[in-house]
């Protein structure tokens, strides 16, 4: 030790030091190694692995063994597996696109919609409305008539904008290409679910699947989805501009039997007068929307509202008004304007509220 150092040790303690360290060194080394090893194991951890294939419906397991095996083989033959999904029908997207969709879907959607798109992900049981079960092939917010399949853009819009007021969030920040990949993958899951359902119905009747009938099923799926592209609803009359007069007419139609909206949505459009309707056995009851919430799940553009009224909402008690209002096309537009007006209710109250959050104009007024 150099003389004059502020930090020096006398010899006797140095020796104790060495003795201590020989034992301590080992202990510390072992302790450190153990600590780092355990943290390393912990950090790397085990991630849950995904099953090799999408889980089939529960009913499939009640089939006789032979039919069960047949069904699974056919579904796998035509729809592939999560790692190599197959597309039923023409205009198949590239495998790369489908796999991109699979990755995104498992990361962003599967928590609610389930890995196989059955709408029963881990969070699903706590959500109301429930996440959509893609396997049934029924989508709510479409630009096609009641009962028809949606077009790709409909699904894309729902993913991008979300269904405001439900647990479905908006994925507006996803790139267009990623959104398209997601739509394609959702369609693979849907086609698979539809094929499975058809095969299941046949197997439940005959205890066996006639392989000859499969091409027919595939054709039916292809046709139905292809048909949607030609069924997009375009308004049957020019739109009535948003005006007080139009809103008044819409209100009258809404509150009388002319359209009869009040029966479910209530006179004030808040949808809380009738008890919830159980539309599908087993499904959670559907509620008529509170139109004043400012959150229209199928989109807030007038054309969206027009299509909801004209075509109804698939899988819900909201009927199509195309027949009822066939002869008074303007009424649909008046209703659209009235719904726009209703959905603006709270925004208007916000501005006129006597007390409420201070507005920018007030803040300026208060500045000296």
């Amino acid at each position: 030790m150099t003389q004059g150092n502020a930090f020096s040790f006398n010899r006797s303690t140095d020796r104790t030091d060495d003795r201590f360290m020989s034992g301590a060194n080992r202990t510390f080394n072992i302790a450190c190694r153990f600590m780092f090893l355990s943290v390393a194991l912990w950090a790397v951890g085990c991630k849950p692995t995904q099953d090799a294939n999408w889980a089939p419906r529960e009913e499939v397991f009640q089939l006789p063994a032979r039919a069960q095996k047949q069904l699974k083989e056919i579904v796998e033959k035509y729809c592939g597996t999560p790692r190599s999904p197959k597309w039923i029908g023409s205009d198949a997207p590239s495998m790369e696109q489908l796999l991109r969709g699979e990755t995104l879907f498992n990361r962003l959607c599967a928590a609610c919609h389930g890995l196989n798109g059955d709408g029963a992900g881990r969070a699903a049981q706590y959500l109301d409305p429930r996440p959509t079960d893609f396997r049934r092939g029924i989508f709510k917010f479409t630009s096609t008539p009641y009962g028809a399949k949606p077009v790709r853009d409909d699904l894309l819009r729902t993913i991008r904008d979300g269904a405001k007021g439900s647990a479905m969030p908006s994925f507006a920040l996803l790139a267009e290409n990623d959104l398209r990949a997601l739509v394609d993958y959702v369609l693979v899951l849907t086609h698979r679910g539809e094929l499975e359902e058809m095969l299941l119905t046949e197997a439940q009747g005959d205890d066996e699947i006639d392989l000859a009938s499969v091409p027919g099923y595939l054709q039916r799926i292809t046709d139905r989805w292809a048909a949607a592209n030609d069924q997009i609803i375009t308004p049957i009359s020019p739109f009535v501009p948003y005006s007080e007069a139009s809103i008044k007419l819409g209100e009258t139609a809404f509150r009388t039997d002319a359209a009869g909206c009040y029966k479910c949505h209530g006179n004030d459009g808040r949808g809380r007068i009738v008890p919830s309707v159980e539309f599908h056995p087993g499904a959670p009851p559907a509620r008529a929307a509170d139109l004043t919430s400012g959150m229209l799940r199928g989109g807030f553009r007038p054309i969206d509202i027009y299509r909801r009224i004209f075509a109804g909402i698939n899988g819900t008690p909201m009927p199509s008004f195309s027949l009822l209002l066939k002869n008074e096309p303007d009424t649909i537009w008046n209703l659209v304007n009235y719904v726009e007006y209703l959905s603006d209710t709270r925004r208007r109250e916000l501005k006129t509220a006597v007390s409420g959050t201070r507005q920018p104009s007030d803040a300026k007024a208060n500045t000296p």
Binding site: Q3, G4, N5, A6, F7, S8, F9, N10, T13, D17, F20, M21, N25, F36, V39, W42, A43, G45, R107, L108, A111, A123, Y126, L127, D128, D161, K164, S166, A167, P169, F171, A172, L173, P235, S237, P238, F239, P241, Y242, D290, T292, G294, M295, R301, I303, D330, N337, D344, R346, R347, E349, L350, A353, G356, T357, R358, Q359, P360, D362, A363
Partner: protein, 703 residues
């Protein structure tokens, strides 16, 4: 002990050993180390949470949200302040030749301080924090903190003021820190909590956040450095003039610089620009001091590598330069646009606390402890291990956070999906606990060494030997005392004045909107929805979904938002930069914060999670319930802690806390026209225009 190591400072004062109460210094150091361990547990738990490996299974007081808030009070008030106060008890008597004002008071203030700091930690663990960065101490603790700070000031200031002859630069800094600490803490904790709200509160909070560093820790640090560096290097300070220029610049510029934490917020632009100018001036202060001390060591040709305390100090100085550079980058508009709310901020503050101040203090302690215990260190090897583990640990942590921050900044402004932003930093998040643990292990070596040294110390066998006797040294003449008092008052007044400036500029002089006025029609929809979804708990805790119930929900919700530490990871401000507006919606304006729920203002400190000022209506109530219960249920990669204690066992059974926090979240942004279509809201008129553009035919009015 006759073979006590040679003390180079022995010549400075006549009989130093009798001036200070050794036991008290040791107590302060022991307390500092205990709080350091608490801090490091907090840091490690937080980093484990972010790595997705938190051990807690829904126990409220183990929640990473709460522990994260313990980190800075435990570090600042527990570790750093205790270590500084211990050192002060050693050097102030030595430099002035007088013991502290009252020795009984020293004991009292020591115990009061430990009580207060432990109380703060316990309070935060119980879920009762205050929403001020650096001042998370619960509201009920604040007066106690102030009281004990006053005791310290009363104890240390008299010997400094009455010191005969010119004041050494060391005592300038220490004296100033003692003058500033009480008003800084009082203004920073009391005004934003009780008197002003919104943007004005945010201005005060920003100044407090940097005030704790620039007006309390830094002057104490410089004061001690100006004592220890010449002592260790064996040579007087390189330039006394520089240190005094730096002192006056610090005194003039540092208070306002703190608003640099809130560039691009709705604060008046003039305040922001002034803050940047002041912050740049501050950089010169810091550089001047660092160069001055560095040159002292350089000119003395002191063997930095072999004198361990000097090595600590020199390493601390190098890290300090890095820290300054980082601060300079952060405090400019250009870089803050990209890096604000990212981990870049955190890497700066962590380096400052654990790489700079802590390193200096470890240097002081490594030097002082053998002298206090009258024996050499038990093991030099452990001292070396302490140094190397600490250095490697803090540099790893710093680099890790720095890279994470840059990555976050880029990904956020590139409008990546939030889960991508989180995902991209995952590698760094895994590394973080390793860095924390390395540092932690280093401190364990120190602790063991300290305990062993104490156990072999002769001091241990005769603890009552330390009778403190003040050497009779002449007092300063009355004129000098008067000048010092006036200077002190001047520093005090200038601090209060500069702190009041932004208050004047950023306040609209209107009383904050009370909570009962805050429920708006949009929020009422969500409250009614809650009452409909969860009828039993809602009726039990809040009755009918009225405006009064909504106000109660908001009040409680905000308490939870603060108490659970939500504000530490979620900001509440949409800036005009970094593509914030495209991601979240309209840019925040000052009037949005003029209400009782923004007292203190919750602009936030980091964006580990997304900004929440436009969260209302973005997700539904059931989504929020599931997400709060267990975030991974709806977003698998989320590093957010779970809050099962907001629920009675399942996500569809929220209790009062769950209902309140959901209502509070739905309130954020609900006051805007564009709610809940923040990104693409169109008025009916705009919609009509859009329809025409899409080629729809418009019905012509009948002639």
């Amino acid at each position: 002990m006759t073979d006590l190591p040679h003390d180079p400072s022995a010549g400075v004062t006549a009989s130093p050993t009798e001036l200070s109460d050794r036991r008290l210094v040791l107590w302060h150091f022991s307390a500092a180390l205990v709080f350091l361990v608490i801090t490091l547990i907090a840091g490690t738990l937080t980093s484990l949470q972010l790595a997705g490996r938190h051990p807690s299974t829904g126990i409220p007081w183990l929640s990473a949200g709460r522990w994260q808030m313990i980190e800075s009070p435990a570090a600042i008030y527990g570790f750093l302040a205790n270590a500084f106060l211990g050192s002060l008890h050693w050097i102030v008597p030595r430099m002035t030749g007088k013991s502290v004002w009252n020795r009984a008071l020293s004991q009292l203030s020591f115990w009061l301080w430990q009580l207060v700091t432990l109380g703060a930690v316990a309070g935060i663990l119980a879920g009762d924090a205050q929403g001020i960065d650096g001042g998370e101490t619960p509201v009920f603790i604040d007066p106690l903190v102030l009281a004990s700070l006053c005791l310290f000031v009363a104890n240390f200031l008299p010997p400094i003021i009455r010191q005969a002859g010119p004041l050494p630069e060391s005592l300038w800094y220490i004296g100033a820190a003692l003058v500033w600490v009480v008003p800084t803490y009082a203004i920073g904790n009391l005004i934003p909590e009780h008197f002003v709200s919104g943007v004005s509160a945010a201005a005060i909070q920003g100044m407090f956040q940097s005030g704790v560093t620039n007006l309390f820790l830094a002057p104490l640090g410089w004061g001690l450095m100006f004592y220890f560096v010449p002592v260790l290097a064996g040579r007087p300070i390189w330039s006394r003039r520089w240190s005094l220029i730096a002192f006056w610049m610090l005194a003039i510029f540092s208070p306002l610089a703190g608003i640099c934490h809130y560039l691009y917020t709705p604060m008046p632009m003039v305040v922001q620009q002034l803050a940047v100018i002041f912050a740049v001036a501050m950089e010169f202060v810091l550089l001047a001091n660092a160069v001055n001390l560095g040159m002292t060591i350089w000119v003395a040709r002191a063997p930095v590598a072999s004198i361990l305390p000097l090595r600590w100090i020199a390493t601390g100085l190098v890290l300090f330069l890095v820290c300054c550079l980082q601060g300079a980058i952060l405090n400019t508009f250009v870089f803050q646009g990209l890096l604000h709310f990212s981990d870049f901020d955190l890497s700066h503050s962590q380096l400052l606390q654990f790489g700079v101040f802590a390193f200096w203090l470890f240097g002081f302690m490594t030097y002082l402890i053998p002298r206090l215990l009258k024996t050499a260190w038990f093991s030099r090897k452990l001292c070396e291990l302490h140094f190397w583990f600490s250095t490697v640990g803090i540099v790893m942590l710093w680099a890790d956070l720095l890279l994470t921050g840059i990555l976050q900044g880029y990904k956020q402004s590139a409008l990546e999906l939030w889960s991508n932003v989180v995902d991209s930093s995952h590698v760094f998040r895994i590394l973080e606990p390793f860095a924390s643990l390395t540092f932690f292990v280093g401190q364990m070596f120190f602790l063991i060494n300290f305990i062993q040294t104490w156990s072999i110390s002769p001091f241990n066998r005769h603890p009552n030997e330390t009778a403190v006797v003040a050497t009779a040294k002449s007092n300063a003449c009355r004129k000098l005392v008067a000048i010092r008092l006036v200077t002190g008052l001047g520093l005090f007044a200038w601090l209060c004045f500069t702190l009041a400036l932004p208050l004047f500029w950023s306040s609209n002089h209107a009383p904050a909107e009370p909570v009962k006025n805050l429920p708006n029609p949009n929020l009422m929809y969500q409250v009614e929805d809650l009452a409909q979804r969860y009828p039993e708990p809602f009726r039990e805790y809040f009755g009918e979904p009225t405006r009064e119930a909504a106000a109660e929900l908001l009040r409680r919700g905000r308490q939870i938002y603060v108490g659970e530490g939500c504000w530490r990871c979620h900001s509440q401000v949409v800036r005009p930069v970094g593509n914030d507006a495209l991601r979240w919606g309209p840019i925040s304006e000052a009037w949005e914060y003029d209400n009782a729920l923004q007292r203190p203002a919750l602009l936030g400190t980091r964006r580990i999670g997304p900004d929440l000022s436009r969260e209302g209506g973005r997700h539904s109530n059931d989504w929020h319930a599931v997400h709060l219960f267990q975030p991974s249920l709806v977003s698998p990669d989320s590093p957010m802690p779970e809050y099962p204690w907001f629920f009675d066992g399942a996500p569809n059974k929220p209790n009062a806390a769950g209902l309140s926090i959901i209502a509070y979240l739905q309130w954020l942004g609900s006051w805007l026209d564009v709610y809940p279509y923040y990104e693409r809201y169109r008025s009916p008129q705009q919609l009509e225009q859009q329809m025409l553009e899409e080629g729809l035919e418009k019905k012509q009015a009948k002639p």
